[in-house]
Every structure is written in structure tokens, then in C-alpha cells.
């Protein structure tokens, strides 16, 4: 395997792994906080049990999130030293703020998980809130760095050197807001639906169990709102991508020729050689509207970009379709949940509804991974859009495939172990629901 490919794949594997834990880390503290709050308000023990049970799971996810995040902070340099040499001084700032957020998060987490019997109730509750806020804030900071790669600003590029560096401008680049918003909502949507799915699975086995019913209700309250907001935020993203990275948008939509008006293609198989899409459904005018808010606007196609600078069209197109499809599924389920919650409450305990939730367990995370593939692969061949090519940033060290194989193997094993541990946790809750927090 060539070193460049190995480096890209190693980066991909590392991110695909980390982002799952990052989403869980941003969302679970909020779910636990609500469970804890409900326990204090209602005095019903199921809510305390729930908060404790979730806390045990979160501790495992956090540890894996922390180590995989640390791996990333080194890999940026291990794999892309030429990139970091320039980017470090420009986008290091959000990372340094992120460091502070991580600190507070880890400290508050220590208190929330292990301090239940050592600090008073109010401080315990507040520490849960701090974990939640710090998690979301740290996510937003890293995203600023990634958005800068898509929409570089805050410096002048002269003879291969960055001068007149302004880290503040770099951080608040044009892609930052849209990505931070979309990512944060994505974290809530994906984690909440996964949590609801797991508890729905258990509820199917233990009919009428209050513990799982409560869990589903809390999780879906977050999940439904997030799932309904997400397509709106995605639309904002798409409009910005059309402006900032027209080649990425064209690849997402497989728009080979600049068109006015442009039709939206749903599904279909793009053929990069012949520059056409086979079998897709074409809806006239819709792409013009989605990209520019005007039914007759011109949408720039791939023909405006020289072919050597095309992103891999097939991958980006499929990833985008998958994300949107998953988004539509979740939005539908979210709307149903809200309707049932206000009217026809009895449906929430029906088997078909619980089965639907079980099916939707992985959907949010599939959308997250697909979305990142759109963003990262869609930016290719650039690592800093329009400034530096990815292949020019790669490490000079030969033999990158060996660390790549090793990291992949380790992450596969870790994935397996985390699933195994979670299974055991979930079933232990049932065998012994009084004793689930033996370590306190």
C-alpha cells in the first residue's frame, strides 16, 4: 500500500472511531442531567437508577473517547506534519480553548461519576451540567479548526508561507457556524436515537418496565427535537457549501455540467468517465432552490473545476444520499414521537413503535459518519482548501501502512470490547438493579 493512502486511511479510521465517542460525550451528560433532575423533582427512584446506570456506561465511553482523542492530537502531526507546521499557529487557538473545556469536563466528570456520596446533591447536579456544557463547547472548538480547512481565512499565503496571521479571524471562518451547529445537533440526534433504541429493545423483553419507559422518553425528547432541526441546519450547510466550495456541492449532487436551472438528483450512480448519472430521479429546479434559494439560479457544476482537482464524486455522492436519507427517517420518527406524546399516548407502548425504535438505533451514527465523509472526502484533493494539497502535507516517513494496520486492528478490538461491556452493563441492570453502582 502506498504511504499516502495509508496515512489517509489511518486518519479516516481514527476519526470514524473517535467521532462516535465524541457524540456520546457531548450528549449523554445532558440525558443524565435530566434524569437526575427528574429524580430530585419527583423523588421517583427509577430516575436515580437511570442516571446511575447511564453513568456507568458513560465512564467507559469517556475513557475510550479520551484516549482516541489523544491519538488524534498526535496523529495530526505524525501523519500531516507539513500541514501542522503552517496550521498550528493559525488554528491552534481553538484547540487551546478546547483544552480548557476538556479539563473542566474531565474534572466535573470525576465529581459526577464518583462523587455521588461525597458531595451534596446540588453540587453533584451542577457537575453533571458542567460536563454537558464543556462537552458541547469543546466539540464546537474543534469544529472551528475543521471548518477552517474548508474555508481558510485569517492569513495571507505568500510563497508557500502564511503571513499576517490572525487566529481570531481564522477561528470564526465562514464555515464555522454552519458546521458547529450541524455537528452539535447531529451529536444529540445520533446518541439520543441510539439510547432510545437500546432501551426499546429491553422494553420489548420486559414489558411495562418503568425504567426503560423513562429512558426512552428522556432520550427521544432530545432526539426528536434534534432530528427535526437537523434538515433545516443541513439546508444552511448546503447553501454555504454552494458558495464556499462549489466543487464539493457539485460532487454531492453529481452535477457534472453547470446548469441554470439545476435539477436535484435523488439516488443514481454517477459515472466520472462519461460525466453522467445513471438511474437517478431528477426533480427539475429543486437543486437551484436548495443551493441558492431561487428556483432559477445557476448552480456551478464540476466542469468549472479542472479534473485533477475533482473530489472522488462517487463516494461523496453516495455519502450525501445516505446522510439525507437517514436524516429523513429520523425526522419522521421524531415527528411521530411528538404527535404521540401530545395525542394517542398509548402508541408509545405499542410493539410496532418499539420495534421501529430498535431499527433506528444505528441510523444517526451512520448519518454522522456519512456526513463527515462528505465533508472530508468532498474537500479533496485539498487539505487546506485552495491552499495546500493533501499529498503535499503527508509525512516523509515510509512504511505508514504498519501503524495503519495496527491502529485499525486495535480499534476493531476496542469496538468489540466496548460492545461486549455495554451488553454486560445492560443485562446487569436487570439482574441486579439495586446494586448497579457498587463502586460508589
Amino acid at each position: 500500500m502506498d504511504d499516502f493512502l495509508a496515512a489517509r486511511l489511518q486518519m479516516t479510521v481514527s476519526f470514524v472511531f473517535h467521532i462516535v465517542f465524541a457524540c456520546i460525550g457531548m450528549t449523554m451528560p445532558w440525558l443524565m442531567f435530566v434524569a437526575e433532575l427528574k429524580w430530585i423533582k419527583t423523588g421517583r427512584k427509577v430516575y436515580q437508577d437511570l442516571s446511575k446506570a447511564w453513568a456507568r456506561g458513560v465512564a467507559i465511553f469517556f475513557a475510550v473517547g479520551a484516549v482516541s482523542g489523544t491519538v488524534l492530537s498526535f496523529e495530526l502531526g505524525l501523519l500531516w506534519p507539513k500541514f501542522m507546521e503552517h496550521a498550528g499557529a493559525i488554528i491552534g487557538m481553538p484547540f487551546s480553548w478546547e483544552g480548557t473545556a476538556f479539563f473542566l469536563e474531565a474534572i466535573a466528570l470525576g465529581i459526577f461519576l464518583y462523587g455521588r456520596n461525597r458531595v451534596n446533591k446540588r453540587i453533584h447536579l451542577i457537575s453533571g451540567l458542567v460536563v454537558g456544557i464543556a462537552g458541547v463547547v469543546s466539540g464546537i472548538f474543534v469544529i472551528a479548526a475543521n471548518a477552517w480547512m474548508n474555508s481558510p481565512s485569517g492569513f495571507d499565503w505568500v510563497n508557500g508561507q502564511a503571513i499576517n496571521i490572525d487566529p481570531i479571524k481564522a477561528m470564526f471562518n465562514n464555515a464555522w457556524f454552519q458546521q458547529a451547529l450541524h455537528m452539535t445537533i447531529a451529536a444529540f440526534a445520533s446518541t439520543s436515537f441510539a439510547v432510545a433504541g437500546v432501551h426499546a429493545f429491553m422494553l420489548l423483553r420486559h414489558k411495562g418496565n418503568e425504567f426503560h419507559r423513562g429512558a426512552i422518553r428522556i432520550a427521544l425528547a432530545f432526539g426528536a427535537v434534534a432530528a427535526i432541526l437537523q434538515p433545516i441546519s443541513g439546508d444552511i450547510s448546503a447553501k454555504n457549501v454552494a458558495k464556499l466550495q462549489p466543487a464539493k456541492l457539485a460532487a454531492m449532487e453529481s452535477l457534472f455540467k453547470t446548469s441554470k436551472p439545476a435539477a436535484l438528483v435523488i439516488g443514481g450512480i454517477p459515472d466520472e468517465e462519461k460525466e453522467e448519472v445513471k438511474y437517478g430521479i431528477h426533480i427539475p429546479h429543486l437543486l437551484s432552490f436548495l443551493a441558492h434559494g431561487d428556483l432559477n439560479a445557476e448552480v456551478e457544476g464540476l466542469d468549472k473545476t479542472s479534473k485533477e482537482n475533482w473530489p472522488p464524486v462517487v463516494i461523496v455522492h453516495f455519502a450525501f444520499q445516505i446522510m439525507v436519507f437517514m436524516g429523513m427517517l429520523m425526522m419522521g420518527a421524531g415527528i411521530l414521537f411528538l404527535i404521540f406524546n401530545f395525542k394517542w399516548k398509548e402508541n408509545l407502548d405499542k410493539r410496532w413503535w418499539l420495534k421501529l425504535l430498535v431499527w433506528l438505533t444505528p441510523v444517526g451514527f451512520i448519518a454522522v459518519e456519512a456526513g463527515w465523509i462528505v465533508t472530508e472526502v468532498g474537500r479533496q484533493p485539498w487539505i487546506i482548501y485552495g491552499i495546500m494539497k493533501t499529498k503535499d502535507a503527508v509525512t516523509p516517513m515510509p512504511g505508514v501502512q504498519y501503524p495503519f494496520y495496527l491502529i485499525t486492528l486495535i480499534y476493531l478490538v476496542l469496538t468489540f470490547l466496548v460492545i461486549l461491556l455495554m451488553r454486560r452493563q445492560i443485562f446487569a441492570v436487570h439482574m441486579n438493579s439495586q446494586n448497579i453502582n457498587a463502586h460508589d
Binding site: 456507568r56 467507559i60 502531526g77 507546521e85 491552534g92 487551546s96 496571521i165 463502586h439
Partner: protein, 336 residues
């Protein structure tokens, strides 16, 4: 200039705290290698609430490096790719194995594997951290990619000097952990075990410290003369030595808070002494030049924003950190 000094100071503090806290967490795994089953319970309870927070000092140090001194960060990640990767493996295995062991609801064969993995990675990581410190001082790191794979990516760290510093750091971490664990021991027997372990480590530590100097002479690094020319370094050695009898007394009288404090001061002396003879060089390079604080720092605007971030961070972090330790460490002491 003042800004840069401040950033270097915070970097130094981050490294110091990582050694004192994160290092001790690794050290606990090393101690467990020696004490076996008897230590596990104490060690698990001691580390669980704090290791994640302790670990962030490393991330802070990395972030300061790539934001403030990008060239230092990329030089390290390019030429010391292999030992850094091994450290990453160690960090992954240590963190996950520890957490999985602590949280698994079923005690079966997996428990044994987690334990093995936890101990081995606790040993491996500090060793290679020390190897990297050695490589930074040794001056075999090339300044450009020019030569064979061995010359560029292996020789800078695969040598006697780096291995000596690796052993030194490993022993330092183990010793710190043994001292800290004295305060966590719930019964007399485990107290004696940890006390004995700490004495063993101390003797080994002194021997290994001396061998670092001797090996440095073999490589003509002139540690002795650089040492004698730095009043800070000499002061550090004097303080560290003067503390030894008090430390022994502290252990004998079981004043755990005092022993912890004194051991931390000694460690701070070792690090400060090293900083003093290294300053202002960050990395010695093979062509005789060096990456220094001045010639590798980011542009001024970046540095000043980094200062703001660090000041704000410190104002938030230190009180929170103090609170965490008050809840889990200081109060425990009173109970026992």
C-alpha cells in the same frame, strides 16, 4: 519576550503536573507489577476518579507545542514518529484496560487480560516518554529528511543515552506512585508493601540518575560542566538532597500528606534542574544547531492570543482541580 516566557512557564507547569499526576497513574501500574494482587484494589480506587483529569496535562502540553511552537511539534512528530506511536499505543491500552477492568460487571478471563495489558502499558509508556526526552537532549535528530531510514527515523532515539533516560523516567513514575499510594493504603500490610516498594524504587532511581550523567559523558554531552555552570540546577540538587531525611521521617511517622508533598518537590527539582541546563533549547539537532524557544515560536499575534487562552484556562482550571483533589484525595486522608 515576556509572552514567550509565560507560555514556556505554563508549558513547564503542564509537564511538571503531567509527571506528578499522570506519571503517578502510570507508576501505579508499575507498582502493581511488583505488588501483584494485593495492590489492585487500592490502586483502582485511587486512580479511577482522577486519571482522566490528570491525563489532560499531556494534551495541554501538546496543544501549547503545536500552537506556540509548531516547528518543534512537527520536528518531533516527523523524526520521532516511531516512539511517539508506541506511546500512543501505551496510552490507548493503559486507559482502556484500566477502565474496562474497573467497570466490567463480570469477572472472568478478560479481567486477567485487562490487568496484564494495564501493567505492561503502564511500563511501556513512561519508558518511551523518557526515550523521547533523551532524544531531544542528545542531538541526533536530523533537520531534514536526507539519509537512510535508519539514520532518520531510528538512530535519533534507539541509543544507549535515550534508553538510560527512559529507565530513569520509568523509575521516577514508579517511585512517585509508591509514595502517593502510602496515603491510600487501608491496612498496615499494604502500607508496608508500598513503603518497601518506594524504598526499592528510590535506590534504583539514584543509581539510574547517576548513570544518565555517566552515559551523557560517553556521548560528550558535557552534562557535568553544564550542570556546574547553572546555579539553578545546583540549587535544585541541593534542595532535593536536603529533603531526603525528611521524606524518610515522613514515611516512618506515616504523615502521608507531608511525604506526598516532599516527593513532589523533589520531582519538581529534578525537572527544574533539567529545564535549567536545557534552556533555551527545545531540541538539539544533528547538524549542531538547535530549535530554541526564540527561533521556533509562532508569530506574535498567535503567541499573545495563546497567553490569553492560558490565563483564562488557568483561572478556570486550577480552582476546579483543587476542588477535585479536595473531594477525592485530601478528604480521604483525614478519614484514614
Amino acid at each position: 519576550m515576556l509572552m514567550t516566557d509565560f507560555i514556556i512557564l505554563v508549558l513547564g507547569i503542564a509537564v511538571l503536573f503531567y509527571v506528578l499526576l499522570g506519571g503517578a497513574d502510570f507508576g501505579a501500574g508499575i507498582v502493581e507489577l511488583l505488588t501483584g494482587k494485593r495492590g489492585i484494589d487500592t490502586i483502582s480506587k485511587a486512580i479511577a476518579p482522577v486519571w482522566e483529569a490528570n491525563h489532560i496535562w499531556l494534551i495541554l502540553a501538546v496543544v501549547i507545542l503545536f500552537n506556540g511552537f509548531p516547528l518543534v511539534y512537527t520536528t518531533l512528530t516527523t523524526y520521532l514518529h516511531i516512539p511517539l506511536f508506541i506511546i500512543l499505543l501505551g496510552i490507548i491500552f493503559r486507559g482502556t484496560a484500566f477502565t474496562f477492568r474497573y467497570y466490567d460487571t463480570v469477572k472472568d478471563n478478560m479481567y486477567k487480560y485487562y490487568t496484564q495489558l494495564f501493567r505492561i502499558s503502564s511500563l511501556l509508556t513512561p519508558f518511551f516518554l523518557g526515550v523521547i526526552l533523551g532524544a531531544i537532549m542528545l542531538g541526533k535528530i536530523p533537520s531534514q529528511v536526507d539519509g537512510t531510514f535508519y539514520e532518520i527515523f531510528i538512530a535519533p532515539w534507539l541509543n544507549l543515552f535515550s534508553f538510560t533516560t527512559g529507565i530513569f523516567l520509568t523509575l521516577l513514575f514508579g517511585w512517585l506512585a509508591a509514595i502517593y499510594l502510602l496515603g491510600e493504603a487501608r491496612d498496615d500490610e499494604s502500607f508496608q508493601t508500598f513503603a518497601k516498594t518506594s524504598r526499592t524504587f528510590f535506590v534504583l532511581l539514584i543509581v539510574s540518575g547517576l548513570s544518565v550523567f555517566l552515559v551523557a559523558e560517553m556521548y560528550e554531552l558535557n552534562f557535568f560542566s553544564r550542570f556546574l555552570h547553572s546555579s539553578v540546577a545546583i540549587g535544585c540538587v541541593l534542595v532535593a538532597t536536603a529533603i531526603i531525611p525528611f521524606l524518610w521521617a515522613g514515611i516512618r511517622h506515616r504523615n502521608n500528606l507531608l511525604t506526598r508533598f516532599l516527593a513532589s518537590v523533589q520531582t519538581a527539582c529534578i525537572l527544574t534542574g533539567w529545564f535549567a541546563i536545557q534552556f533555551p533549547v527545545m531540541i538539539y539537532l544533528a547538524d549542531g544547531t538547535a530549535l530554541t524557544i526564540q527561533n521556533s515560536q509562532a508569530p506574535e499575534r498567535t503567541m499573545s492570543l495563546l497567553v490569553y487562552a492560558l490565563v483564562a484556562g488557568i483561572l478556570l482550571i486550577f480552582p476546579a482541580f483543587y476542588y477535585l483533589f479536595k473531594v477525592f484525595k485530601f478528604s480521604q486522608n483525614k478519614q484514614s
